[in-house]
């Protein structure tokens, strides 16, 4: 019957997740009964080496972080494509090898392009 499959081997993971969250919440919540809370203005100001904060804290940051994020998506998808290939490599033999060489070479072209474009440099 479709839909009746229960992934029971994942039950411990779910339980550990609940335990982890509960641990975090409970420790903080129980601790609340014991710890002192004496907030005042200076204590609650964002830390900036003792000076009063200037400007918006959420400032603009380098566009390089965006290009890194885009590159990450490309290469992470590549890695995910490599996994199933690696798992059945022994069964497919030479065919799999050639197939994957073509795939990796295609990606290497993009990689070399990004390198030549200077997307991997940080000091210019």
């Amino acid at each position: 019957m479709p839909g009746s499959y229960l992934p029971s081997e994942y039950l411990p993971i779910l339980m550990l997740l609940v335990t982890g969250i509960a641990f975090g919440v409970l420790v903080l919540w129980i601790g609340k009964l014991f710890r002192v809370q004496r907030p005042y203005f200076e204590k609650l100001v964002a830390y900036e080496s003792g000076n009063p904060p200037t400007e918006e804290p959420r400032m603009r940051f380098s566009v390089k972080f965006y290009t890194i994020a885009i590159l990450f998506i490309v290469f992470d998808v590549e890695a995910i494509f490599l996994y199933p290939w690696a798992l059945v490599f022994n069964k497919l033999g030479l065919f799999a090898l050639l197939e994957m060489f073509i795939f990796i070479i295609l990606l290497l072209i993009g990689y070399v392009y990004a390198w030549k474009k200077g997307n991997l440099e940080w000091d210019n």
Binding site: A46, P57, I68, F72, Y83
Partner: protein, 322 residues
């Protein structure tokens, strides 16, 4: 009934790992102390043995400061996300034959997924604190973690090709047949890449840019105090433990000893994990910190080509051997 047994197992696992975390900080301070010709913690208990307990109690009673400008709900949730994601990845680690809490067939993939989730906690902490240092630390950490995640993912492809599975227990079993019972012999380059990327992934020296004390105060945890601060630390040390375990499982033969020494299997596993943890600490005591552009250059220009080349060569060698 089954659920009760599971609960007991989870309780034991969490207790053991938390104790491990506490004493990992102790060993770290002690070892670095001795490497720098100091004594390390000495006052609380015999040779400072109760120091981690004292630290825990102290941070439990410390005031929980929430900055005025902070995005409160995210600020409160971030450490819990970090800690819970790290704890969950413990469930797939095989400490011995059949000793994994959840013996799932995508174990390795699951670990990657969870370590990515934990980086959400970091970036949320950096953003929600609404302070310049934390924002910079959070962004840096994110860029670093995603860059090195590719290197880790690619370096383990060779191991997957040799073992033909993502299940952690079966990877260990597959190594039993190989020479010396360890994949490090046939995959030295992969281990090299994995080890460096592992240091960066767990934000350790020499790649601890996100918490670089000299420039960013404390990085993304600058605004945190008390127990929440401690939670980030716990998450970091559990992350170290998980990454060291992955190294042991994929390259060092898991719970099998290199020689036919009849030792209780989990002891081999823990010994190897602690060997890698010792390397972590040793490196921290030895190396200075990298600059940010150097860090990115190592990840993108050295480790990724190396691991791709490793895949090429492993594939060629396996095809030729057939």
């Amino acid at each position: 009934m089954q659920i009760l047994i599971l609960l007991i197992q989870i309780a034991i696992l969490v207790a053991v790992v938390l104790l491990h975390v506490a004493y990992a900080t102790y060993f770290e301070r002690k070892i670095i102390g001795h490497m720098q010709v100091r004594m390390g913690p000495m006052l609380v208990g015999w040779h400072g043995l109760l120091q981690p307990i004292a630290d825990g109690i102290k941070s439990f009673f410390k005031e929980d400061i929430i900055p005025d400008q902070a995005d409160k709900s995210l600020f409160l949730a971030a450490p819990i996300i970090c800690l819970a994601a790290m704890m969950v990845s413990l469930s797939v680690l095989p400490f011995a034959k059949g000793w994994a809490l959840a013996d799932i067939n995508v174990g390795l993939l699951f670990i990657f997924a969870m370590s990515s989730l934990a980086s959400y906690g970091i970036i949320l902490a950096g953003w929600a604190s609404n302070s310049k240092y934390t924002l910079l630390g959070g962004i840096r950490s994110m860029a670093q973690v995603i860059s090195y995640e590719i290197a880790i993912g690619l370096s383990l492809v060779g191991v997957m090709m040799l073992s033909g599975t993502l299940n952690l227990s079966q990877i260990v079993e597959a190594q039993g047949n190989s020479f010396f019972g360890m994949f490090i012999i046939s995959q030295p380059v992969a281990f090299f890449v994995f080890f460096i990327a592992m240091l960066a992934e767990t934000n350790r020296v020499p790649f601890d840019l996100p918490e670089a004390e000299t420039e960013l105060v404390s990085g993304y945890i600058t605004e945190y105090s008390g127990m929440r601060y401690a939670m980030f630390f716990m998450a970091e040390y559990i992350g170290m433990f998980v990454m060291a375990s992955i190294g042991v499982v994929c390259f060092l033969g898991g719970w099998y000893g290199p020689f036919a020494v009849p030792l209780f299997p989990p002891i081999w596993f823990i010994l190897k994990v602690y060997f890698i943890m010792f390397l972590f600490i040793w490196i921290r005591a030895t190396l200075p910190r990298y600059r940010y552009d150097q860090l990115m250059a190592i990840g993108w220009k050295l480790l990724i080509p190396l691991s791709l080349g490793n895949i090429f060569i492993t594939g060629l060698a396996m095809t030729l051997a057939q």
